[in-house]
């Protein structure tokens, strides 16, 4: 489930960008430490494989609809956590660029939701604990199912969290969560079944492909996973608070800061933060809303006060749009062919 750019506020999108970028850097370092160059092409191929596998749909029994593999757990089983994380992240980058799945700002969130959980949580702390390196089919089955379901549920939870924290959608946290979790439970079961079936198929026909999994690679630290989960739970609590009112993160930040003011703590820090944002003016104008009275005016009051949004505002903006189109047309016509280099004519 890809989250889309337009549902995210820059603060939330940016934070997850930072987290995912750090994880990529971390994994890249780990992988280059392993110094097994022969696996680099394999990573590339398997990343592309995830893509291709998603084109083969199957019918989901009893529903009349069809689904496809998301592949996170499968790739981790084949490549180990670090390589799998990098491969999955690269798939998501390409999907965002070429398939309009998600988007640039949402990339951080999507990498986190779809790659972090299978690679760094579900595989090392669920699959391996249940199945270990055992070849017993029962243990493998239990391991894959649990791990797949858990990664999907955690991912879905994060989608809800990120969306409500952004406050662009009006859906309340708990409603949204109640909507998402059951769906992803089903998707998780299907994912687990398919992963299991694919793995046992490969075990039978080309067992050498599964070697990397059996040769235990170094595993991510438990503390990292625990810490992340704690942070996300906390986020959930905040969201639950905030989502009873619009403007999720901003509102809750306001509320928190208000409480802090009441308690007379951290006043300076908050002021500094707010004024910094004011001054840069570039960071979301949400900074204005952090002061509670603005919220009262724009978000909570029932009267239309936003001066930007009026009929004339919309008409104005539409004419700018038309003008821009016309300007482009003029620019195109006015230049002789030879002057119109390719996107970058310096490249030969």
């Amino acid at each position: 489930m890809h989250i889309a750019d337009a549902l995210l506020s820059p603060v939330v999108g940016g934070s997850f960008w930072a987290v995912s970028a750090a994880l990529i850097g971390y994994s890249a370092k780990k992988v280059s430490l392993e110094a097994d160059g022969s696996k680099t092409p394999l990573m590339g191929v398997l990343g592309a494989f995830v893509f291709a596998a998603q084109m083969i749909n199957f019918s989901i029994p009893g529903t009349g609809s069809s689904g496809h593999l998301s592949g996170g757990l499968l790739l981790t089983l084949l490549l180990g956590p670090y390589r799998a994380f990098i491969a999955l992240a690269s798939v998501l980058v390409i999907q965002s660029l070429f398939f309009a799945d998600g988007g640039l700002l949402a990339l951080g969130c999507n990498i986190f939701n779809l790659a972090f959980f299978p690679a760094f949580v579900a595989f090392p702390f669920i699959y391996r604990i249940i199945a270990g390196n055992s070849v017993s089919p029962g243990k493998r089955a239990a391991g894959s199912m649990t791990a797949a379901i858990a990664s999907l549920l955690m991912g879905a939870y994060c989608v809800v969290l990120e969306t409500t924290l952004s406050g662009i959608s009006e859906l309340p946290f708990s409603t949204f969560l109640l909507f998402m979790l059951p769906i992803h439970l089903v998707i998780g079961i299907v994912e687990g079944l398919v992963t299991l079936a694919v793995v046992s198929f490969i075990m039978k026909t080309e067992p050498t492909l599964l070697a990397p999994q059996l040769a235990a690679s170094s595993k991510p630290r438990l503390t990292l996973a625990l810490f992340t989960i704690a942070a996300l739970t906390l986020g959930g609590i905040i969201s639950r608070f905030s989502s009873s009112l619009p403007d999720g993160l901003e509102w809750s930040m306001a509320k928190v800061s208000k409480q802090e003011k009441l308690h007379g703590r951290q006043d300076n820090v908050h002021d500094l933060f707010a004024s910094l944002q004011n001054r840069t003016a570039f960071l979301p104008d949400y900074s204005f809303k952090i002061s509670p009275n603005v919220i009262d005016k724009t978000a909570l009051s029932a009267s239309p006060v936003n001066p930007g949004t009026s009929v004339s505002g919309i008409v104005g903006s539409l004419s700018v749009l038309l003008l821009a189109g016309a300007a482009g047309f003029v620019l195109r016509k006015s230049l002789p062919n030879s002057q119109r280099g390719i996107a970058n004519p310096r490249v030969k």
């Binding site: 750019d5 079936a197 492909l209």
Partner: protein
């Protein structure tokens, strides 16, 4: 989905009146997206005004509009549901339009849709104007780890091959599947397993084909480009100023 893959590969690189470097294009797109996406939830005019940037590029660079529109029609249902929920959940009157009351949710829902379209379009433009391998090199220059960039290039390169492989396997299956028999989860899982095996053997064969023709680890780098020129800097400054101007005008 496959059509989209195909489309991108066949299109000639469109032309633009400005010649800016790839990093500049990348950075500009990022700044632009950031501006668009930080527009407050009820400010429709600002989002529409921002839409004029991609529109300018489309007309100036002579980019075929039809495929772009086609892509926009594929808006993720998830986004649409979220956008549609807003008018439902937020019914506070916001605007009076010829006696019709427009609610806050309607506006914010529309803002979501327009933002999505603008975001999608601008990424499409980036990928149309800058071929992928150059985009990847640009990423390397802005500090993305080399390992990751190589990975991106490999995934991209193999995707086309494997997409075709997957499509032909799916076709072979569909040709002999009837009444839903043959398309079930477990048959498909086997199919995916075979795809995986084929994938790796295909990769091996490609590797053979490459080494047979003198390939040694690195892809030949076809590009040598200066990092920043005056044109780049001018473009960056000018775009930045106009993006800020829109903010000043529309976002109070």
């Amino acid at each position: 989905m496959k059509d989209i893959v195909v489309q991108n590969r066949n299109d000639q690189t469109p032309t633009l009146f400005l010649s800016i470097g790839d990093q500049t294009a990348l950075i500009l797109s990022a700044i632009f997206l950031f501006c668009v996406l930080s527009v407050p939830k009820y400010n429709l005019p600002a989002v529409i005004t921002y839409a004029s940037f991609p529109v300018l590029v489309i007309t100036a660079a002579h980019i075929p509009v039809k495929p772009l529109l086609h892509r926009l029609l594929l808006l993720s249902p998830f986004v649409l549901i979220m956008a549609a929920a807003n008018p439902w959940l937020d019914r506070r009157p916001f605007l009076d339009l010829f006696g019709m009351t427009i609610s806050g949710g309607m506006i914010s829902g529309m803002v979501i849709v327009v933002k999505t379209m603008v975001a999608i379009t601008s990424l499409q433009l980036l990928t149309l104007l800058v071929p992928f391998y150059r985009l990847a090199l640009a990423l390397k220059r802005v500090g993305v780890p080399e390992l990751f960039v190589t990975q991106l290039l490999l995934v991209y390169r193999y995707s086309f091959l494997l997409a075709e492989e997957a499509v032909s396997m799916k076709r072979a299956r569909d040709m002999r599947s009837f009444d839903g028999k043959g398309k079930d989860l477990f048959t498909t899982a086997k199919l995916i397993g075979s795809l995986l095996i084929r994938t790796t053997s295909r990769a091996e064969k490609i590797y053979r084909a490459m080494t047979a023709r003198g390939f040694q680890r690195r892809l030949p780098e076809k590009t040598e480009m200066p990092s920043f020129t005056r044109v780049d800097i001018a473009t960056l400054v000018f775009s930045f100023l106009s993006l800020m101007a829109v903010r000043m005008l529309f976002i109070h």
